[in-house]
Symmetry: C2
Subunit: 275 residues, 2 copies
């Protein structure tokens, strides 16, 4: 992979994390801080945050509900259910997700945990980068995928200006790219990228952190994302999902952005075996 | 995976090894012992041993030739070539492999390295189990795949009677199973199993070591082998080839053989991304 990308890469494999993605970190950080009289937790998710909340709440014997878009990956649905979540279907649009969530909260006494626009989530996701920086002291850069921005803003806070954090985003979901260029938070794009975990748009808190750090956004085409999944499979024997492959893809699509010794956060690996 | 198999599993991931399989160990152990005036090395292989010899010889600036059956995996052919091997085609049968090899040795001054029936190879492959036993002190069993028997006999020597070594073999290539039952080394079966690295029959040296240790052979069906590749992919986010998956499959097919705390050697991961 060093030869393919043309630089020295060090991978942080959050696909090996509990529930198959970094999301376990933020979820456990929030859930462990909840008051013990809370019985029900609700969130919305395309899959990975939902599974993380399901796992974290199961550790405290709370029940979890996840509002899930109809086009969510069946594999991720099963993953959420395996960790104990009850799924609540909504449509594909942001508005339908929000209205279903509001309706749920009207009818149930449940605590809502936002998937990324929450300081406790950002702090939890930041531990990925803290661990990477603890084990590798001479990194020039850290690359992370950006969707809602929990992982990315956590990385920026953990790097604390000592190491540049570059965010990778699908060309077909480039709201973070447009937000950074315009200086204003842009709405999500239609959910067409195969990187299903990156379809949401930057959270408010997260955008503030990215903006303050003048974060560079590197875009990746869908073809490069697919190619990167295969490259990491064949050369590293490691399973990553498209939302994680975006980082490798963006390095291939933007070689001039890549520094000499790069930490690469592989965010998750929740895909079915292709057959 | 512990829940699926019903026991505590500790994996030794030789798919992450250089060249994508444990074979790098035996190859480097032999090649580093060769006299420095040797220029050419030849072996036969369905792919992983060939890539390992190619890599090891490249470290000493020797040239490698690999006699490869026509039905070898195109992915493994590319892998051998990537590490610098020159491939020499032969038919699918053992006789054709041997005659092509003999012809090659008549025409070239090259040193032949047998893929498994060689004490230096066995010693090299034994380091997999040595490392596993160094890092995990309380194992009840170690499971390894068996083809020619290099990895298996190395494991038995390394375990030295302190931990049972169970060998996993495809039902469709059960020459080791038949050899252990009959007490006599059986010929290879036709090359029909998808576990392409396990189609060869036990070496003489290797069989002697397995026989001495009264090694148990656990068989796995083709369906279980395929299922195990998918299970390890989906649950562990790790890419293993069918010859490695045989171990997980044999545990699923023979639950009564499985002890409480089991070391599992995942032998390799050289398969293309299925698409």
């Amino acid at each position: 992979m060093n030869e393919v990308v043309g630089t020295e890469l060090l991978f942080k494999c959050e696909n090996f994390q509990k529930t198959g993605a970094f999301k376990a970190r933020g979820a456990v950080n929030v859930v462990m801080q909840l008051s013990s009289d809370i019985e029900f937790v609700v969130t919305h998710s395309s899959g990975n945050h939902g599974a993380a909340i399901a796992w974290a709440t199961s550790l405290r014997e709370m029940k979890s509900f996840v509002v899930v878009p109809t086009d969510a990956s069946p594999f991720k649905r099963r993953n959420m259910e395996r960790y104990g979540a009850t799924l609540v279907d909504c449509g594909q649009e942001l508005e339908s997700r929000e209205s279903v969530l509001e309706e749920f909260l009207r009818q149930h006494e449940a605590t809502f945990i936002h998937p990324y626009d929450d300081a406790r989530i950002v702090a939890g996701q930041g531990t990925v980068t803290m661990e990477l920086l603890e084990s590798e002291r001479n990194l020039d850069q850290i690359w992370v995928p950006v969707g809602g921005g929990g992982l990315a803003s956590g990385a920026i806070l953990a790097a604390n200006g000592n190491v540049e954090v570059v965010c990778a985003e699908p060309e077909l979901a480039k709201d973070a790219y447009l937000s950074m260029r315009s200086g204003y938070r842009q709405p999500p794009q239609p959910p067409v990228t195969i990187a299903d975990g990156l379809r949401s748009s930057l959270g408010e808190l997260n955008f503030g952190i990215l903006k303050e750090a003048k974060t560079r956004i590197a875009l990746a085409t869908e073809d490069s994302i697919k190619r990167a999944v295969g490259l990491v499979f064949e050369m590293m024997k490691v399973v990553i999902e498209p939302s994680a492959a975006v980082v490798v893809a963006a390095m291939l699509d933007n070689p001039s952005y890549v520094a000499k010794r790069v930490g690469v956060i592989l965010s998750g690996g929740n895909i079915p075996y292709p057959s």
